[in-house]
Amino acid sequence: MRSNASETMPGDDRRGYTKGTISQPTMEFGYLRRVSMGILVTAIYVFLLSPIIIVVFTSFNPTTANTFPPSGFSLRWYGAFFESSGFTSAFQFSLWLGLIAAVAATVIGFFTAYGITRFLTKKRELGQSLAMLPVMIPHILISISLLLLLTVLPIPEMTALIVGHTIICLPFTIAGITASLEGVDKQLELAALTLGASRFRVLVEIVIPLIAPGMLSALIFAFIISFGDVYIALFLSGPGMTTLPIEIFSYMQWESTPVIAAITTLQILMIVVLGLVIERLVGLRKIMRV
């Protein structure tokens, strides 16, 4: 028996759906078929994961070249990262930006998801598709357009960067929170409303506590999206507001030493930990449902 806390989440229908799929009868694979499928799938996973695993190995390389396999073990590139003020300040900037954008995208995403699931009865499909718009538009286009907006309206550049990141995170927070909201029994809200609670009170005292794990997951996922973004920041970052991926990008245009590997390994570590937290809370699939 699993004692995962999220298993007991009330009305978590996506869990049930996953279980159902597993227990459904599937085609009987022939032995040879199964082996060849296994080899193919393994090869695809090797392709997917090797560029990332190789980065981790390279970060411990004692020499300057990006050689593989590494010629020894050293932490000099981690030292180089912490000594480089350019990289550490970009790292900090990305952390703050990610946090602000994630909070904004979660709050607005919650409003939107609640509005769509509870108020758009007939136009629900349309509302959901419109909410997903930023995924369908190339991010470079979003970024250039915001840069253009800066030349027309007197907005601080920092605001444009935060807005851009909030926009690209929104589809994911909306999808995740919508999935959580679908698991909340509307009768509960109705009961509270009938007993005289205000809409606002229903949100704060009933809905939000019920979907708290989903909201936290959405927040973390939005942070990850923001932290990894390069296209929004490509046009909107400037002096004193350079994100980590942009700092790495400009560095790599001139040279690529394993200091990049050390930084990206730290980033990978952070993302894996955060990803596992989401998995623990609600399951990553819920959020990736784009």
Partner: protein
Amino acid sequence: MRTGGEKAFSRIMLGPITILYVLFLLAPISFFLLMSLFKYDAFNMYAPVVTGENFARLLFDGYYQTIILRTLKIAFLTAFFSLVLGYPLAYFLARTKSAWRGVLMFLVIAPLMTGVIVRTYGWIVLLGREGAVNKVLMTLGFLSEPATILGTELAVLLALVHILMPYMVFPLFSSLASQDPDVERAASTLGAGRVRTFIEVTLPMSRSGIIMGAALVFTLTAGSVVTPALLGGKDVQMIGQQIYELVTSTLNWPLASATAFVLVFCQFSIIFLYFRGGRSRAQ
């Protein structure tokens, strides 16, 4: 009174995103794309004179022609190989009974979360003259001296397929997972072989996933800047880099806008094909 309150409340809920999307997404993008119709002006970004010269330049100038054709080629190949590699993976994930399913799903999502830069860097390390790919090929005796892979279209293609494949896997997975496995069983009970079942039943039923994924990968490839810049260098210029340079160094906004328009046009063509195809099927 109640319904009035409800209406106001729903406006409060859906207001922020409407304002955000209209003001910071739709309006600026429309303005930017509209600029493609105006004349270039070195001092004012654009001159308020309607002209077709930006598009003419893209279509008839050899330099831009090459870049556009190369981008379309790479975008098509990336979408194609993402499909070829992504389909077996999505099929496996949708049908497997393995207890590791959750972990295997996570391993597809995890690379996506690391961002574009991390994976592009991974390919620089893999494909360099001292990199693992050259080492392996030399050890196996395919090469006598390290090959130059970085700076070629192949490097860009490999990395783009790797970076964008997850975007193909998710729509495929959802369309495959929502299929009733009994339909496949019915086909084989009625005597269709495995290949025929796949071609005539499974594949057509996952059509929406294929087109969704292909449209997404195609557009994302066509709009990529960082990966071709770092892996392809000067020899493998693509539309995205061109737009980047036009906006940041040449400051030719109208031409950048026309170039971006090509990108959007391609994407809408695919989506249009999707809906047209859907209608003809329904008839």
